[in-house]
Symmetry: C2
Subunit: 431 residues, 2 copies
């Protein structure tokens, strides 16, 4: 599917080159203005369309009652639970309302400036699964722990994932205290309880589930699209020293569950369709088992999404310096596709539910500069990175802000996933 | 706290020796009768008291409005979210209503026979964490994977746990299909997708969270009790062959997420108080770090709960043979207490929420016969166990029913946790 370059919104800011929120995007969010309860909104240019207000003005007539009701909820779960056709009808109606100038007078009262709202969690996340789908990340991190044997034998066969903590997922913009935990200093015989010294970010995309499946009923690879609602940004903040001490044999636990940041926006899968691209597997690598293999997945399983990590330290803020980019990567470098994640997750009959979240795992490309974590960029803290203002970093320091950004397209027509930002505050530990 | 042996219910079946549901217990459940929506009930003898019906008849007057409203919900989450004093007042009121004969005429219309209801999930589980708190289990299982090095260096310092899948938790009584998944037969070079051949149960207790904590605010060990609502039974069914292939480096995933069974009953922590007992740590072992150490935890951190696993095969059912006991164990053999689990889980600031579930991890005692899984009883499938009817088992076969039971006390005054049962159906795979 090619993107329709000719479609324009009647709202000028949505047509500005590279603004990221043209009428071809229409990402969803949940927002609050003073004195109101949360509502579902859709981003357009520098505004949000309030779906509840559209419904109140009769502008969602023609959609099913279930769709209208779902659009008036405070969060997206009911809308995510609709079937694919109903979701497509809503998107088509929103596209019409925002592109046809005859609707501008009716819709304008439903617009709110994005910089005047507070964003909430777009949906209630029931279960959060974090995958590990970048082979470049797995190899570089594996080499730090197991120099002789960086990639474990299952990696090229199994889309490795594990269950994450849903309660500590927070919408972008929050600050959080450096976590305290058990860690074992390399020069000591006994572990201590102390503030994390190797605090890191992880550049990830978050994939949100739409319709679920019944317990016991796997989702076939080529049926996975209708179960995917859309994509957002996820920073899976990680305490590397806590992780190194706790993770065997059952995996990461408290090293990840202190705080995880989500972008306020979820870009619907339909908006990403034009950026689908070929997924390949090196001929020398094992080819996927049957449940992870299809011609369609090969032809268009990957998605071409540009990824960026930016840092702004406390000193940079004090000196009014802009944030500095640390990483440039692309989502299409993943070893496994989103469809393969869905098929694998459900092959055992596990039930997905609307609003469930998949993390992609840290998105690192083949080059060191495309690494999605400081652990990789500094090679385990051995080689500090130099910032333009003379500061250096091995891991995050108090006051550091990390901003993740992602977008499809070019400087003209850009589909933005927005950004997710978070700032590290000092630990409140007295130890 | 000693149990009050003199307290009697006015309902005879609650006073029958060893019935398990005397007035000293009062476990909570969610139940449905024909044509009604789910309601919260409390077990007494062979009956359930319908809390909504009690409220309708004015029998919960004197409690706060918030407590009355919570008691009329279909599941326990709002009741779990009440503060400890409100929960204690409700329990005191229920004790009064069920023991003082002056209330019998008023309460009797609110009683329903347990065998006439369908049980539902007692609460919505937001996040499910599975611990690994039996050192006997960790050692025996570790020896199968790492004969030279069964117990990893962190085990005696860290209450090891990992995040589990909440969506596939189901209330007792369901059947489930043998899961399909990726596994690597030992005699083959490549993995296959096939029905699990090493299907196992895991005897666990489930600990349900009451009041939560704010993100960033740890719960101190000696403050943990008010955050614990109660205890139920949990069977964490496990596909050992899928687990062995997938679990490195991020832990168990699809090997556990196909189905997990919970008992319908949650016994409130107050009912278990009389069975609290000393928690000790071998002098030769590392003593806990400060956040996991208190005099109170040493004095009464453990709970004396008898544990049993029973099996009934398809042939036993066909021959009308009763189930056969496989295991006898005790919850007090755990290496870490429930309070230590709460303190550890939140030391990094992770927020717990009402209805969250902790699994204890497989409850195995020091003896092979007190093992909580077939993996241990058969030493990795090498030594089949013999059943009384001549059958043998290494792992579970289709048609096998596993029943877990747990209780405190003796043949006279017994506090039962009820039971959790589940039956393995054949895989629906054609592979």
């Amino acid at each position: 599917m090619r993107i329709d370059q000719t479609l324009n919104a009647w709202l000028d800011t949505a047509n500005a080159p590279g603004n990221g929120f043209p009428v071809q995007n229409l990402p969803y969010c949940s927002f609050v203005t003073d004195g109101t309860t949360a509502r579902i909104g859709v981003g357009i240019g520098d505004r949000i369309v309030d779906l509840h207000a559209l419904a109140d003005r009769g502008l969602l007539a023609g959609l099913t009652e279930a769709t209208r009701q779902a659009a008036c909820e405070p969060q997206l779960n009911a809308l995510m639970a609709l079937d694919q056709a109903s979701r497509a009808e809503l998107r088509a109606r929103l596209t019409e309302l925002l592109s046809d100038p005859r609707y501008s007078a009716g819709v304008k009262p439903c617009l709110i400036a994005q910089n005047r709202v507070r964003f909430g969690m777009p949906c209630r996340v029931g279960d959060y699964t974090d995958f590990y789908a970048s082979i470049h990340h797995a190899t570089r991190v594996g080499a730090l722990f197991r120099p002789d044997n960086p990639l474990l034998p299952n990696y090229k066969w199994v889309p490795i994932g594990y269950h994450g903590r849903a309660s500590s997922l927070q919408v972008s913009g929050g600050d959080f205290r450096r976590p305290v935990g058990q860690l074992k200093p390399p020069d000591q015989e006994r572990p201590v309880v102390a503030p994390c010294k190797r605090l890191d970010y992880e550049l990830e995309l978050g994939i949100f589930i739409a319709e679920g499946n019944a317990l016991g009923e796997p989702i076939a690879l080529d049926d996975s699209d209708r179960h995917i609602f859309g994509v957002g940004l996820l920073n899976d903040w990680s305490a590397r020293d806590i992780q190194a001490w706790e993770y065997q044999p059952l995996g990461p636990f408290l090293s990840k569950s202190f705080y995880s940041s989500l972008s306020p926006w979820i870009v619907p899968l339909e908006a990403l369709e034009p950026y689908r691209t070929e997924w390949t597997r090196d001929a020398a690598d094992p080819q996927p088992l049957a449940y992870l293999e299809s011609e369609r997945n090969r032809r268009q399983g990957a998605i071409d999404i540009n990824l960026e990590v930016w840092i702004q330290t406390q000193r940079m803020r004090a000196e009014s310096m802009d944030a500095q980019r640390l990483t440039l990567g692309n989502f299409k470098d993943l070893y496994w596709t989103v469809g393969q994640m869905v098929a694998h997750h459900t092959v055992n009959g596990c039930n997905l539910q609307p609003g469930d979240l998949f993390g992609s795992g840290t998105l690192s490309g083949p080059l060191l500069e495309s690494s999605g974590s400081l652990l990789e960029l500094t090679e385990g803290g051995k080689h500090p990175i130099q910032l333009a203002n003379g500061e250096s970093r091995t891991f995050l320091e108090d006051g550091d802000t990390i901003i993740l950004k992602a977008y499809c397209g070019d400087d003209q027509l850009r589909i933005s996933l927005g950004e997710v930002a978070g700032t590290v505050l000092p630990s409140n530990s007295t130890t």
